[in-house]
Symmetry: C2
Subunit: 200 residues, 2 copies
């Protein structure tokens, strides 16, 4: 997104990395409300003019952070069964959301996306990439005959994350391991029953 720069050399790259790290820390600890560009610039050790010129608004900063985060998305696993794969996925999502810092970061990013269309587009792209990484689990399950052909793999993957995010965003206690197991189990059962088949 911001990589087509005429001079993306050493200093520019270092500044971006430092600013995004400071942005990440600020979001994790103070949420979207605590994202002050002046403070971010100070924590990153760069002039605030630089932050204003290159990003301009808090939400643009979040959008760029999402681009970087997408580059670090973890790989899928292959346990041999859909339930096993999705339990691993659900566990990772649950631990991320339950962690005070990481969970706050994700909540703040979702909040930022509600305030700005570009950030919303970046968030969608971020989850599209994560879903694309895990969708093969479902496709493999189709190949093994675990779930019906025509199953919407992306929908199944999203069905695992959905209750965990919903829990994190609408309740004051974070989701636990039990919630993760339920999320995976419910998604698998529904997928097996054909609830995510495109024709149904």
């Amino acid at each position: 997104m911001a990589d087509a720069q005429p001079r993306p050399g050493g200093r520019t790259a270092r500044v971006r990395e430092a600013v995004l790290r400071a942005t990440r820390d600020a979001l994790a600890s103070g949420g979207l409300h605590g994202l002050d560009l002046t403070a971010v610039a100070h924590d990153a050790g760069v002039g605030k003019t630089t932050v204003y010129r290159r990003w301009g608004t808090p939400t643009a900063l979040v959008a760029d952070l999402l681009v970087e985060m997408a580059d670090r998305a973890g790989d899928r696993v292959d346990t041999g069964s859909l339930l096993g794969d999705l339990e691993v996925n659900a566990g990772r999502v649950q631990r991320t959301l339950a962690d005070p810092e990481e969970g706050g970061l994700y909540a703040a990013i979702v909040a930022a996306a509600t305030c700005d269309a570009r950030t919303a587009a970046a968030l969608e792209a971020f989850y599209d990439r994560r879903v694309a990484v895990w969708a093969p689990c479902v496709e493999d399950a189709v190949g093994r005959g675990e779930v019906p052909a025509g199953t919407d793999a992306a929908a199944v993957v999203r069905a695992v994350s959905a209750p965990l995010y919903y829990h994190r965003l609408t309740r004051t206690t974070p989701p636990g391991e039990e919630d993760a197991r339920r999320a995976a189990a419910a998604a698998v059962v529904a997928a097996v029953a054909g609830a995510f088949a495109s024709g149904a």
Copy 2:
């Protein structure tokens, strides 16, 4: 929450109503970012000092709005089957979230809750009330033998809303009727299979 006032008579109540209405409109059209207390006061036809004195912050305004919204939560339905009941529920949630104004309002409220603990508590209370209204659908289904005894009714109700909210918050296109049907169907299938049983 703000009802134990020494003099909650006519004027005070009218001011609160007008301010909350203006808050609702501002959130629906401009999101949390567009919630300017001065503008809210002007639109409500009250002095800005009043808004600052009684509420103080945008998130406090949202928290009070949630108290009022909880008082207007719609009733459950009784179609005679769990799937029928939850399809109605899912349809209402989906239409609410897909509506540009209403959907924006809910997204903004979720965003506000990520910024402030009191607002988060109000949001949780709001959904607790809505879940409590619909949980009897699941309990009735247990009574009819549709789903196993020991099923966590609240979890089933939340499982219907979760994918619709997740969709609204993480994607740029709103959830559609097909998503609502899938959400209800998946929740029912999972509940029938015992995925929401407390023991499992």
